[in-house]
Symmetry: C2
Subunit: 326 residues, 2 copies
């Protein structure tokens, strides 16, 4: 089965519910001026592959609970929380483009961008509250705390610590896996899953999220610039130390060239050379292997659930994480 | 009774609970680096008069529900939400000092300030979720939406519209009264109040919040610079059109001098002259009268509740709103 048809499979299973999620996402409350509303609508509408709400829906599907309105609201809340964090991230990073669309930050003042992110947080919380379930809200608040604390830690961690696997593991949990955990556990909670089932979902989300982010970090080195849409080794060029670099250091030790990269002080030519070295090294296959291990763990976590098309689709998503090209 | 003893009265009634609120506020989860944690602790600790949590506690007191842990958590959540919005506000306004303390914005990067505000939002939501009550969370999310939508509207409203009473009423509701409504209705909800009682609290919060903000805006003109801690007419000098200016315009019409003030384009000398004109005009007493009307309405809203020291303290707070000097 190709990647293309795998995504189609998961999508097809929850197509009508996903359409309802899209509608909920664009049913934005009062926002002024009209031009800002339009910009926010564009950002929300251009929201990637909707992986997180698809996960929520597939989990609800496993519990035979796909057609409750609450499930739609929670899936939309998860995606909206993700979107809100991206709006603030783009401001923090000074990013001008995301998913091929101009960021708010590119066209509006910092004040408007901060407020718009806050507004989307409020909207996300409002969507979650519609589910009328305290546990949904608690997980929601906790996840926001984890994501933001992770970003704060990342902003202030010295470069020595950033190049450790321990720091990397914390970082990718806070940045990616925590939101995957949110997506799947909320799907379980809203379906009245047992504590044992919620724990299995938590593990699935953690391992799948880790695998997904590791592959993202590998693709930053190996991807084709035209496909990925940014220069090869873009993370390292921005001072972001990810698994391939950490593994490369483990294998080769620090040299003067790596030192400048770790401190974010290389020239462009130096970066070109280092990125090329890492790209051609074993660090890539070792990193992909780590993603495969995480994927395997994610798949194991789902064994507790009976076989169903929804479980099969979740398993296929994990395959896709490792085989994807962007 | 003097203002001083009035505040003491309200404080004394809920002193031990307020101490527990302070403790909950400073029990900040994981935040790095230590220097940022210290800065956040200073901001949280220097948090003014704690009016909002005092209101929540007094309302819980009216319902004989003051000694539940949930009440403390909800009161702390209300104050923390308020603090989070202030952190982002200071970034948006570029303010360097608040309540005599350096703002985060003054000492940290915009990125750190945005993230810290987000972190405090997450903490506020976490505190609220401890109450294990869906309605508490729903009101919380709705209020954040109102506050942020109001700030966005304010940021993008043209000066023509800003000088209307209608726009001013919306603005002070979003900025101040909505948080007062949050504080008192959450105190009711967590105490199992009836829908009729919640509605009375909503009215009380609205009218009291309006009165409080109108007096704040009056004091910006009439206050002594040394007491208020900022130049007289500071709002107008920053392009913020408040009730005294709106009333002055109603009474005197627009002239060329007012035109430059409404557009935020006057010279300092022109501002001095305009602020002096408004200060000495009937606009001040008319505005104070409007605050008194709102206070009267707030007091009426509480008539539905039986007499108690807690109700008496809430009534005294409304007196204080109009008689206060800063």
């Amino acid at each position: 089965m190709t990647n293309e048809s795998t995504t189609h499979h998961a999508h097809a299973l929850v197509a009508s519910q996903l359409a309802a999620v899209e509608e909920a996402l664009l049913n934005l409350p009062d926002i002024q001026p009209p031009a800002l509303r339009k910009a926010v609508e564009t950002i929300v509408a251009s929201g990637g592959k909707r992986q997180r709400p698809i996960m929520t829906l597939l989990v609800a599907g496993m519990f035979g609970n796909l057609n409750e309105r609450k499930v739609i609201d929670v899936a939309a809340a998860v995606e909206m929380l993700h979107t809100a964090t991206l709006v603030h991230d783009d401001l923090i990073d000074g990013s001008l483009v995301r998913r091929g669309t101009a960021t708010l930050n590119a066209a509006w003042t910092p004040a408007a961008t901060v407020l718009t992110g806050d507004y989307l947080f409020a909207f996300a919380a409002g969507l979650a509250s519609r589910a009328n379930n305290v546990q949904v809200m608690t997980i929601f608040a906790d996840t926001l705390g984890v994501v933001v604390a992770g970003e704060l830690r990342q902003a202030f961690t010295d470069w020595e610590r950033r190049s450790t696997r321990e720091d990397y593991a914390k970082r990718i949990y806070a940045k990616t896996a925590s939101m995957f955990v949110l997506a799947v556990t909320e799907g379980g909670v809203i379906s009245g899953a047992s504590e044992q089932h919620i724990e299995a979902l938590r593990q699935f989300g953690t391992f799948y999220g880790n695998a997904f982010q590791i592959m993202d970090d590998v693709l930053d080195f190996t991807g084709d610039q035209a496909t990925v849409g940014k220069p090869v080794g873009s993370d390292l060029r921005h001072g972001l130390i990810t698994l391939p670099t950490i593994v490369f250091l483990e294998q080769n030790g620090k040299n003067s060239m790596m030192n400048c990269a770790l401190k974010g002080e290389c020239t462009n030519l130096e970066y070109d050379a280092i990125v090329d070295m890492i790209r051609k090294s074993d660090a890539i296959s070792i990193s992909i292997n780590e993603a495969a291990i995480q994927t395997h763990r994610a798949r194991r976590a789902l064994e507790i659930f009976p076989d169903s098309p929804y479980r099969a689709a979740l398993l296929e998503l994990t395959d896709l994480a490792v085989s994807r090209k962007l």
